[in-house]
């Protein structure tokens, strides 16, 4: 394992002590040693070699101009498209799909010289909170392989938490970066909606999806965010505003900042260990000079049901292209209807089918006003409540998840699984930036502190998170060594 951060690896690359290819090899062997956790679906093969060579040339030609990510190995979630590398979205229906194009966020990382090594396991079409919905099997949490890593970006969180790569990419539609970051004890950042292009991200819910990094430090997450962020002519929902420079913000600390603590996020339902860790973190922030203010977000209660109308409605349309006509699974039947039914019936897993049906129902003639239109109104209310809160505070601080990583198979009914995201999904509904950083352990398992900022206040969020991280050592905690393979299955 390599626990070095992006800055340390960059220094070794520039001193000639190592090469991008060596780092990539090392990352690959580290990932292979995690096989029992099953965090990775495939390696990026020729692309890794090609990109390592490109990074080496960039470093040789102008080491000063090469950015901090040049030559740094990483892994990305199986919903991001890279030309020539299979992307299956954790689904049988897309097994074998090789995109003929590269998405914008990935392209920007490639242009910065970062070296992809592996494609990470995730919940099918990013739908889930435990990574147990992957068609290719669940992922184990590095802190306790019998427990889930969170989801849907479970594989991406696990490879960073286990020290195999310094950073990885995930996607966050209702908490799919922040919640697994919390469960695995790493930093996971969901940028403002529209700050990172979604072009090349296989859509789950278009108005909520956002790509973001996992890293072992806020600084590394900021490097990755900076490389990806900014307007993209291929994604009309990206903001045309320039990206605020993050690096200068990071070191400014929280002294004098007003931080809001949403009453509803500290209510009953928090595990005692989670509450204790988060309260200690809030005290730490106060000690660093921030003023804590209690705020109220009364519509929080309605967020879950709002989310489970809007997200399934959008997914019911987004997943319609998986029809067996042009790519992916095709089950041949006599009639067109049977071909559709069999292809989609065999190709999609139960959670994906459940959400497609929920969304189809919510959009149906006669139900649209009662469900979808109503949900959009509540969504606006939720966003307005956040806006009002940010009139008086600079950022919000709260737990990322009410619970720590739970045992695999523990939440077999969908509703209890949906409740895992109750503290993260309002942020997606409002389109805000949010990060989860490690803030303690509860019964030996990581607890995450969530920092939420106003729209386009990405740098502000990273600044608060960095200030906390600089004053604490939770982000340097490493999971216990994995049991040997024979023990893992004992």
């Amino acid at each position: 394992m390599s626990w070095e951060n992006v800055g340390e690896l960059g220094a070794r690359l520039r001193s000639g002590e190592t090469t991008p290819a060596q780092l990539a090899d090392h990352a690959r062997s580290a990932i292979e040693s995690l096989a029992s956790l099953h965090p990775v679906l495939r390696y990026t093969g020729a692309l890794t070699e090609h990109q390592a060579g490109r990074a080496a040339r960039m470093l040789a030609e102008s080491p000063e101009q090469a950015g901090p990510l040049c030559g740094i190995p990483f892994a990305y979630k199986d919903v991001l498209c890279v030309e020539g590398v299979e992307t299956s979205a954790g689904s049988k229906i897309l097994e074998g799909f090789i995109p003929p194009y590269t998405g914008t966020a990935l392209q920007r990382l490639l242009d910065a010289g970062a070296v992809p090594v592996a494609v990470t396991n995730c919940d099918e079409f990013a739908m889930g909170s435990s990574n147990e919905n992957s068609a290719f099997g669940p992922v184990g949490n590095p802190w306790d392989p019998s427990r889930v890593p969170g989801g849907s970006s479970g594989g991406s969180a696990a490879v960073v938490a286990a020290g195999a790569v310094p950073f990885s990419l995930g996607t966050d539609t209702g908490g799919s970066i922040r919640q697994p970051a919390s469960f695995c004890g790493v930093a996971g950042f969901k940028p403002t909606y529209g700050r990172v292009s979604r072009y090349g991200l296989i859509a789950f819910a278009s108005s909520l999806d956002q790509i973001g990094p996992f890293a072992r430090s806020v600084e590394d997450a900021a490097h990755v965010f900076t490389a990806m962020a900014g307007h993209d002519p291929r994604d009309s929902t990206t903001s045309p505003l320039p990206v605020e420079p993050v690096a200068t913000q990071l070191a400014r600390g929280v002294a004098g900042m007003r931080l809001g603590v949403p009453r509803e996020y500290m209510a009953e339902g928090l595990e005692p260990g989670v509450r204790a860790a988060v309260e200690a973190a809030l005290a730490q922030l106060e000690k660093l000079g921030a003023t804590l203010v209690e705020v109220s977000l009364p519509s929080t209660e309605a967020a879950l049901s709002t989310y489970y109308i809007i997200a399934p409605a959008e997914c019911s349309a987004n997943l319609a292209r998986m029809d067996g006509v042009r790519f992916g699974l095709h089950v041949d039947r006599q009639s067109l209807t049977d071909t559709y039914l069999e292809t989609r019936g065999q190709g999609f897993g139960p959670e994906v089918k459940r959400r497609i049906m929920l969304g189809t129902y919510a959009l149906s003639s006669g139900y649209y006003d009662a469900y979808y239109r109503q949900a959009q109104k509540v969504r606006t209310l939720i966003a307005e409540e956040f806006d009002r809160a940010f009139e008086t505070v600079d950022a919000l601080v709260c737990p990322t998840s009410p619970i720590v990583a739970f045992p695999k198979g523990d939440k077999s009914d969908p509703l209890s699984m949906y409740l895992c995201d109750v503290l993260t999904l309002p942020v997606n509904l409002a389109g805000l930036p949010g990060i989860s950083i490690p803030c303690g352990l509860s019964e030996g398992l990581p607890v995450g502190l969530q920092v939420i900022g106003p729209r386009l206040g990405d740098a502000q969020v990273l600044r608060v998170a960095r200030a906390y991280e600089a004053a604490t050592a939770w982000h340097t905690q490493q999971p216990p060594p994995l049991p040997a393979a024979s023990e893992a299955f004992a």
Partner: protein
């Protein structure tokens, strides 16, 4: 009456029933690129699936980017049809599964279209008809399918071509204000003419860049409610629309006369059978589950933009026809004929600008030139003769240098080959014999050579004069003015 109702004719049905017809027109926009990606919107003739990219193939992970020119063209069309342009509009997803629809939804507009509340006014049999336009909105075209069999459900195999998928498509929804197949046809003719004039559509019904669906129901004369409507598709000519509507009126009228009810359904026009056949009944009607397209921000069209498009709106055919009557003294009929096609109207104006009298320009364009253009499949501007050559030719006639029949022969010869008519006339000595003394000499010679004809004429046989005129024309190899020759002959033969 009821005993014979099963075989009622169209006229009989229309005595008892009033048709209510509304038309939906889809027009492909003449943009460079497709609606949401950079592929060419000109897809005709490309090898199957070659004019495609990840976006119009609907691959996982791609996003649409709106074509601004398509929005401008739609606004231009809406303004030409007297529509209002709301400041805010948006795109929606229309969800249904079909192999020619790559994403499983069509990006269209549902409750906030680009434009609303327009109208089109025209004349049928001397009476003015005003048809409301409910809305003009923007969407994307689908791909095309080819089946081994008539319809997909019965096909052994089908192939998909997505070259057309994503081409900008404008939908013009008309109010049910039309009452006869003739009105429906004229509405389409006028609508097509406008779209072609303003440069947004090529008006090709055969290739489907301009297509029409019709909704038709019958009701008792004097009633204001609406009967059960039937949607008719697959009509790819004005004539087909006319025939299909006539067919439906008779079909529905006979059913109603027999006391039966009309099934709400979609029917397809089958040209070869001259009949409509049922395609889809209401029970199988789609629930399209429209919802706002989350990948595209709502559209804000400010007044400044709309004003700019309005100011740049070219002269519409009706305005042009009125101006040609006013400024060039054309009859209403000639003006309508000359302005029917935009290219003809342009040619007419060029000829007049080049000094050709308006009436002559109209006659030549609508007569001989139209015939040659049709037969040679070469429009005048692309012909060898061109506008300049035609102007010069007509002026030779008007100046009396050549006569009409010489001009027609020259036009025929030079239309494709090209050449300067004045030079050819000069070179071949085709100019009219207009020297009075010369003509008188020829007339005298012909009279001397044809005593029988002279005698016949003087004996009261008027047609004998034609033989004498023919003789003079022959002697001049057709270069004399027949009217002048006739006059000279009458003078000489006058008692």
């Amino acid at each position: 009456m009821t005993a014979t109702s099963a075989v009622s004719t169209l006229d009989q049905v229309m005595e008892r029933w009033e048709p209510v017809i509304g038309l939906e027109v889809h027009g492909q926009l003449l943009t460079q690129s497709k609606m949401f990606c950079g592929c060419s919107a000109d897809y005709i003739g490309s090898p199957p699936n070659s004019n495609t990219c990840p976006v119009c193939l609907g691959l996982p992970g791609v996003l649409p980017v709106m074509n601004r020119v398509a929005v401008e063209y739609t606004v231009r069309s809406a303004l030409a049809l007297n529509c209002e342009i709301p400041e805010r509009s948006k795109f929606d997803r229309k969800n249904y599964f079909y192999p020619d629809l790559p994403k499983g939804y069509q990006i269209s507009q549902w409750d906030m279209p680009l434009s609303l509340n327009g109208h089109l006014t025209f004349t049928v049999d001397g009476a003015e008809v005003r048809c409301g336009i409910t809305r003009v909105h923007l969407e994307e075209d689908t791909g095309t399918l080819q089946h081994a069999g008539d319809i997909l459900q019965q096909a052994r195999s089908s192939v998909v071509d997505l070259n057309r998928a994503g081409v900008p498509l404008m939908e013009i929804v008309g109010e049910p204000d039309l009452r006869t197949p003739a009105q429906a046809r004229e509405y389409l003719v006028r609508l097509r003419q406008i779209l072609v004039y303003i440069g947004v559509n090529d008006g090709n019904l055969e290739q489907g860049s301009f297509r029409c669906d019709a909704n038709i129901s019958l009701r008792k004369h004097g009633e204001t409610g609406l009967g059960v409507k039937v949607e008719v598709k697959n009509m790819n000519s004005f004539r087909a629309v006319h025939r299909a509507l006539e067919y439906e009126i008779v079909r529905q009228g006979r059913l109603l006369d027999q006391g039966q009810t009309i099934a709400q359904e979609t029917r397809g026009w089958v040209e070869a059978k001259g009949a409509t056949i049922s395609q889809r009944s209401k029970e199988y009607a789609h629930d399209y589950r429209y919802f706002p397209e989350p990948d595209l921000p709502p559209l804000h069209l400010n007044a400044e933009f709309v004003d700019r498009v309005r100011a740049a709106l070219p002269e519409l055919p009706q305005q042009l026809a009125e101006r040609l009557q006013r400024e060039n003294g054309l009859s209403a009929y000639d003006a309508a004929t000359v302005t029917a096609e935009r290219e003809d109207a342009r040619a007419f104006e060029s000829l007049v600008a080049a000094g050709v009298p308006a009436k002559a320009a109209a006659n030549w364009l609508m007569g001989e030139v139209a015939r040659l253009a049709r037969e040679s499949r070469t429009p005048l501007p692309g012909s060898g003769l061109g506008l300049e050559g035609l102007a010069s030719l007509i002026k030779l006639v008007e100046a009396g240098t050549i006569n009409g029949s010489t001009a027609k022969e020259l036009l025929e010869e030079l239309y494709l080959a090209g050449g300067d008519p004045a030079a050819v006339v000069e070179e071949r000595g085709l100019g009219q014999v207009s020297d009075q003394a010369e003509l008188e000499r020829l007339v005298d010679a012909v009279l001397a050579e044809n005593p029988a004809a002279v005698a016949d004429f003087q004996g009261g046989k008027e047609q004998a004069l034609q033989r004498l005129v023919g003789g003079v024309m022959k002697a001049t190899r057709g270069r004399a003015d027949a009217r002048v020759v006739t006059g000279l002959l009458r003078d000489r033969l006058a008692p």
